[in-house]
């Protein structure tokens, strides 16, 4: 059973409607990307509606950074098409650049520049630039404007990259593991800023992270990148509502994992058989447990559990 089956499931009526009349912020069709002979993205299709926080999940090497860089035109693509704000993204350019903020995975640019000089340089290009926000964040996050970028720690550089990305008040914020090097206080403060930014209408955030708690805090939609394509993009609440962790326990153990309708992933651990089941029917699971002389326990998985099972 594969996680890709999730993509074919009809969304619940309560879920946000992706087929809404709103123009997607991002539309990807058949994206292909290879490095030498290694194909990283394979005919990837993806649509991101406006006004959502999308958490891009995937294992190490799944291609998250490559995907994000391709979306912004920072990495040439081998095939397919990317539309950003309704325009083809052949290369980064045009007025839409005023509406995009990006935090790269590692910020190793312009080490000879001082923070203030770098921000002034960047601000000169933008029509919108929230100088008050910049000053507040520099102060709150203890970044000395007179310090050279090369002297900053990785965490401080990441803070600077975040300040730089949100200062133009972007409509689309793309963040590549933005909190990986941040301490818990900074991470929390960043999430606070992110959620504040999201309160304005029409703002969209795509961010890749391995810290699933942040996605839960932001009530993000989850997009799973695996095997070179997006397996599904669904609201976290919907995932948690529909996907359940089912544990069958019996003293004799299990020769094979039990076959249950809707099971996406199964594995046997001694006397326990653990299944990730979509839309489980409690009565039929209990009936199955009785037949197999086993007990059954149904629990709501955490996002981390889901990631471990599906990614």
């Amino acid at each position: 059973m594969s996680a890709s089956n999730l993509a074919t499931v009809t969304p619940l009526a309560s879920a946000p409607l992706y087929e809404s009349a709103l123009l997607p912020v991002l539309q990807v069709r058949g994206l292909e990307k290879s490095f030498k002979k290694r194909q990283v993205l394979k005919a990837l299709d993806w649509s991101v509606p406006p006004g959502r926080v999308i958490g891009l999940l995937g294992r190490n090497g799944a291609g998250k950074t490559t995907l994000l860089r391709c979306l912004l035109g920072l990495s040439p693509i081998d095939g397919g098409a990317i539309e950003l704000f309704g325009e083809l993204m052949l290369e980064p350019g045009g007025e839409r650049m005023h509406r995009i903020g990006f935090v790269p995975q590692t910020f190793d640019l312009f080490p000879w520049m001082k923070i203030r000089a770098y921000l002034d340089f960047t601000a000169a290009f933008y029509t919108r630039w929230d100088a008050a926000l910049v000053n507040r964040l520099l102060n709150d996050w203890e970044l000395d404007p007179k310090q050279k970028i090369g002297e900053l720690s990785q965490g401080q550089r990441q803070k600077l990259a975040i300040v730089r990305a949100i200062a133009p008040d972007p409509d689309l914020l793309v963040l590549d593991e933005p909190v990986a090097s941040l301490d818990p206080q900074a991470r929390r403060a960043f999430m606070g800023e992110l959620l504040a930014l999201m309160r304005a209408p029409g703002k969209t955030v795509i961010f890749s992270t391995h810290i699933t708690a942040d996605l839960e805090r932001a009530d993000a939609d989850i997009a799973l990148l695996r095997d070179g394509s997006i397996q599904f993009t669904r609201p976290l609440a919907e995932l948690r509502e529909r996907l359940k962790r089912v544990v069958f326990t019996r003293p004799d153990g299990w020769m094979h994992a039990p076959a249950v309708a809707g099971a996406l992933k199964t594995h046997v651990l001694g006397e326990q058989a653990v299944l990730l089941v979509e839309d489980p029917v409690t009565e039929s699971l209990q009936a199955f447990a009785e037949r197999e002389n086993a007990s059954v326990h149904i629990e709501t998985p955490t996002l981390e559990d889901l990631f471990v099972e599906l990614a």
Partner: protein
């Protein structure tokens, strides 16, 4: 204008010394131009020379600045390309239009030629700053100049009179600008970073990629880099196998050398020599018109080529620092001084390698120009290259890390070594192989051994540094 101002400020932040020199030269040009305006017509050539130098240096700086600025992330800045274009227009205004207007006021002759010449000069400077390989494109002019001087003089005479020459110069400038800037405006996947201590003989200058700047390698460069990589991998495998069979201290040292100096194994050295032979062959083609070759120049050039490894070592060791922490933990030395000694001993292998390459280059040079006394050249090259390499290694190991200091040291070393070769050649010529050679050996080796032991002691006293350089 805000963006243009910020881009302009970048130059002062990145290369303050270079820009200061360019501005001083420009002021000097202005001073002589005013003297010219006052009636001192003899000042005209001085004004022109200073302005030419100022334009050239300023635009080398512009090119270098552009190289470090044009990283993929910069293209996310709104209208980045357009802003660059506007900035270019302002630059043309300052360095082409204004001086041309000044030339009009001065009633200088050949005005269209002067204006297009300013443009070409700026384009050449920019090209040399932002695309080192494109610098090779100006070689054909020198080949023509050297090979057929009469034809070249005739061409120049006709060109001065032809109304088409300014157009040709402008077209050439446009072509050079396209060749220099287009690769910078292309967004490509980042190439894997090479070892900071690589030595492929391509990056002869110390100005390697700026921090954060993507490596820009053409198809041929990629193929050659792959050859080097395979050679280093094989050398590392051999060293590992030898160490596994008999883990002795000397084999451990070989392993450290394979890690630190990936392109200083026999295969890679042979490849480097072959590549240099091609470049030297081209150089020979460029100067083959000459009837008489000065063996001292050929020998000094060969030594200079072999010495170009050491400036790379200086900057490479600085950039290597964050990776050196891993080596430190792997070696697990008893003291920091022990670790420092291991590193300095590992680097000492560069001295025989440098001597070997100097000798090979001298043989090539002597053979190409049919030198009268190749043994004389080789004899002096052997003595000078050992001493010079030892001294260069010593100085670069503990020398300045800043760009200005490093550049100064490089100039002193290169011209010093060429001078010593010149003097040594004369000494052996006058006093013979035994007396002259002995004296040369005594003086140069005495100096370089003294420098080496002092540098090694100083290096061992210093604590190892693992922090990343600022930029």
């Amino acid at each position: 204008m805000k963006v243009a101002w910020q881009l302009w400020m970048q130059l002062f932040r990145r290369m303050p010394v270079l820009i200061a020199i360019a501005n001083v030269l420009r002021l000097a040009a202005l001073y002589f131009a005013f003297r010219w305006l006052g009636g001192a017509t003899k000042m005209a050539p001085l004004a022109a020379i200073f302005f030419v130098m100022a334009t050239w240096i300023w635009h080398i700086g512009q090119g270098y600045g552009l190289r470090s600025l044009c990283v993929p992330e910069s293209f996310l800045l709104p209208q980045f390309r357009r802003r660059l274009l506007e900035y270019g227009a302002i630059d043309i205004g300052m360095w082409v239009l204004m001086p041309t207007l000044f030339a009009v006021v001065l009633r200088a002759p050949y005005l269209p030629l002067v204006a297009s010449g300013f443009m070409l000069l700026a384009a050449i400077g920019l090209m040399m700053g932002c695309n080192r390989r494109a610098g090779l494109l100006i070689w054909p002019v020198f080949v023509l100049f050297g090979w057929m001087p009469t034809l070249f003089a005739e061409l120049m005479k006709s060109a001065l009179q032809s109304p088409l020459t300014p157009l040709l110069l402008l077209a050439t400038a446009a072509l050079l600008l396209k060749l220099s800037i287009t690769p910078l405006l292309r967004i490509e996947d980042r190439e894997t970073d090479a070892s900071p201590l690589e030595s492929t003989s391509f990056g002869r200058m110390q100005t390697r990629s700026a921090p954060g700047e993507p490596r820009r390698t053409g198809a041929l460069g990629k193929r050659i880099a792959a050859l080097y990589d395979r050679a280093s991998q094989r050398a590392m495998d051999r060293a590992l196998n030898a160490y596994k069979q008999h883990p002795t201290a000397s084999r451990r040292m070989v392993l450290v050398r394979r890690l630190l100096l990936p392109h200083d194994n026999p295969e890679a050295i042979a490849l480097r020599i072959a590549l240099v032979a091609i470049i030297v062959g081209f150089y020979f083609f460029a100067v083959m018109h000459r009837q008489h070759f000065n063996p001292v120049i050929i020998g000094a050039y060969s030594i200079m080529l072999s010495m170009s490894r050491f400036p790379q070592l200086n900057i490479g060791m600085t950039r290597m620092r964050p990776n050196m922490a891993d080596l430190y933990l792997t070696l697990a030395p008893q003291t920091q001084a022990e670790y420092q000694k291991t590193v300095s001993d590992a680097l000492l292998v560069l001295v025989p390698i440098s001597m070997l390459t100097a000798l090979v280059y001298t043989v090539m040079g002597a053979a190409l120009v049919h030198a009268d006394d190749p043994w004389h050249m080789l004899f002096v090259a052997a003595i000078v290259s050992v001493s010079a390499s030892l001294a260069a290694l010593a100085i670069h190991m503990i020398g300045p890390e800043g760009t200005t200091g490093r550049t100064f040291v490089n100039f002193v070393l290169i011209f010093g070594v060429m001078g010593v070769y010149w003097g040594g050649y004369w000494l052996v010529d006058v006093a013979g192989y035994l007396i002259g050679g002995g004296t040369l050996t005594l003086v140069t080796l005495g100096f370089s051994l003294g420098a080496w032991f002092a540098a090694q002691r100083e290096y061992q006293l210093r604590p190892p540094r693992f922090d990343a350089p600022i930029g």
